[in-house]
């Protein structure tokens, strides 16, 4: 049996309680780097990483019992409010999300397996640790290779001459929420703050999510889409279940007659963060979407994606998938049968 390392478990009942416990340990961590606490919602990313000794927190603060983190609420004026503790299965099955934000329901539906969607939460998915062939391995395996830059070594095994960590952002809901212009509410002891989801991520595979120790992601807000917004999420993975994206595309667009009034495209699975494609959006905006234009857009996206050799699939395959799936997503947005 694969055992978890020793830790102290504390079940938070309120956000304030979680903040207090996390605060206690983030100040202790200044003196002893080994003393740190981690938040855990569904546990489907934290516990495998703990079994691999990639995470070795002294305290785990469970968010399962925090009622304030639950709930899906929609009103046409303000849009959608999602608690960070909403389960991925709830997200995928919610009638209002399926009707008004189909790409978000789709992204939740294609995460892993029914069991893990039942356990995993939206907030947990957004805070998913980045992944890499040299990182998501057992302690034995990683030690035999003298570890990697993300955990315990000075050298990145993927790019030994590089300066950063290239572990891959793999959460499926983030690119869709970025494309939909969503924002996040983050609670901290200094008070709450709201920031765009895009600002949650940055180019750092080691610390991919820009939350401070002790911050708690509590709510997500998705603006109300005007009736004619269409959205889709196209994900490529090795198997039809279980797997993280090898490459995926979130696409949202609005049309004025035949012309595209606005469009947002975000790639996932090819960089340390969800990758917006502003050049491709600029090419498509204000134009009628002819097959030639869509091909050019896919080609431009292909040039913008620079994955490393650190997940399933070769670099060449992942880039070709980017090109094909951008085209597939754009086709889906203009397909007459898709009334999103």
């Amino acid at each position: 049996m694969m055992r978890l390392p020793k830790f102290e478990y504390r079940a938070a009942r309120t956000v304030a309680e979680a903040l207090e416990w996390m605060g206690e340990f983030s100040s202790a961590a200044d003196k002893d780097p080994q003393a740190h606490a981690m938040l855990m919602a569904g546990g489907t990313d934290v516990l495998p990483n703990m079994k691999h000794r990639v995470f070795t927190p002294q305290v785990v603060v469970g968010l399962r019992g925090v009622a304030a983190l639950r709930g899906i609420a929609y009103d046409p004026e303000h849009g959608l409010r999602l608690g960070a503790g909403v389960r991925l299965s709830e997200l995928a099955a919610s009638p209002i999300i399926r009707a008004r934000y189909p790409a978000l329901a789709r992204a939740a539906e294609v995460i892993s397996t029914p069991q893990l969607r039942q356990m995993g939460t939206l907030g947990g998915n957004l805070c998913l640790d980045t992944r890499c062939n040299y990182y998501n391995q057992s302690e034995f395996w990683r030690k035999a290779r003298d570890y990697c830059l993300k955990r315990g070594s000075e050298i990145c095994r993927v790019a030994p001459n590089g300066t950063g960590c290239y572990a891959v952002s793999s959460c499926d809901t983030a690119p869709v929420l970025i494309a939909l212009g969503a924002t996040a509410r983050i609670a901290s002891r200094a008070g709450d703050r709201i920031l765009p989801i895009a600002d949650l991520y940055h180019d750092d595979g080691i610390h991919p999510v820009r939350l401070h120790d002790g911050d708690v992601l509590t709510d997500l807000y998705v603006p109300s889409p005007p009736g004619d917004w269409r959205s889709t999420y196209e994900k490529y993975r090795v198997r039809g279940a279980f797997d993280f994206p090898i490459a995926s595309v979130a696409a949202v667009a609005r049309f004025d007659g035949a012309q595209c009034a606005d469009v947002r495209l975000v790639l996932q699975g090819v960089a340390t963060r969800p990758l917006p494609l502003p050049e491709v959006e600029a090419l498509l905006r204000g134009q009628p979407w002819t097959p030639d234009l869509l091909d050019a857009a896919a080609e431009l996206g292909y040039k913008a994606a620079h994955p490393m050799d650190n997940t399933a699939g070769t670099i060449a395959l992942r880039r070709r998938i980017v090109r094909a799936y951008i085209r597939r997503a754009l086709d889906a947005l203009i397909a007459p049968s898709v009334i999103h």
Binding site: Y9, H52, A93, T113, P114, Q115, M119, A241
Partner: protein
């Protein structure tokens, strides 16, 4: 790490055990409660062998801390048989269709399959595949497993027997 007393509702019984707070539900079921029907496969969420029902929904007991499962109704493969000690229709169908080879993945498939059949006794083949998509079988194909679910569904429709573990359902459209 000292053990602590935990109380579980497992297969309709209240069970109190002393277990480590760092142990998963899988470890407690197998090592403290002697419910070894639930198997440990990858223990990382890749295989589904450890699937149990928590409040009627299939979850992976290898990635659920036992302390977090204390307030829930847990059903393991041992709890699928009916009160009068007859097997669940899906268990009978698995045996009749030969839907197992080495059998190690079978408890997980049974639990996932029963969860589906509790929601609907008229699932399409795609619904069956979707419901079983979190369970891996490495011996054989999935055809006989899917056929066994279809056979059990047909029989359950014919007899209209209520199934055990009839708690909360997802409202999948």
């Amino acid at each position: 790490m000292p053990k602590q007393l935990m109380t579980f509702q497992v297969n309709g019984e209240t069970r109190e055990v002393a277990a480590s707070p760092t142990h998963t539900l899988l470890e407690v079921l197998r090592e403290e409660l002697d419910l070894t029907g639930t198997k440990h496969g990858c223990e990382l969420g890749h295989c589904g062998a450890c699937t149990v029902l928590v409040d009627g929904e299939p979850v992976l007991s290898c990635l659920l801390l036992a302390v977090e499962a204390q307030d829930a109704a847990i059903t393991t493969v041992e709890g699928l048989a009916r009160d009068n000690n007859t097997l669940h229709p899906l268990q009978l169908a698995f045996a009749e269709r030969g839907a197992a080879q080495c059998g190690y993945c079978t408890p997980g498939f049974l639990v996932s399959g029963v969860s589906l059949l509790t929601r609907t006794t008229d699932p399409s083949r795609d619904e069956i595949k979707d419901a079983l998509s979190g369970n891996l079988c490495r011996c054989t194909g999935y055809t006989k497993i899917i056929e066994a679910v279809e056979l059990a569904a047909t029989r359950m429709r014919e007899t209209q027997q209520p199934v055990p573990s009839s708690r909360s359902r997802r409202n999948r459209p």
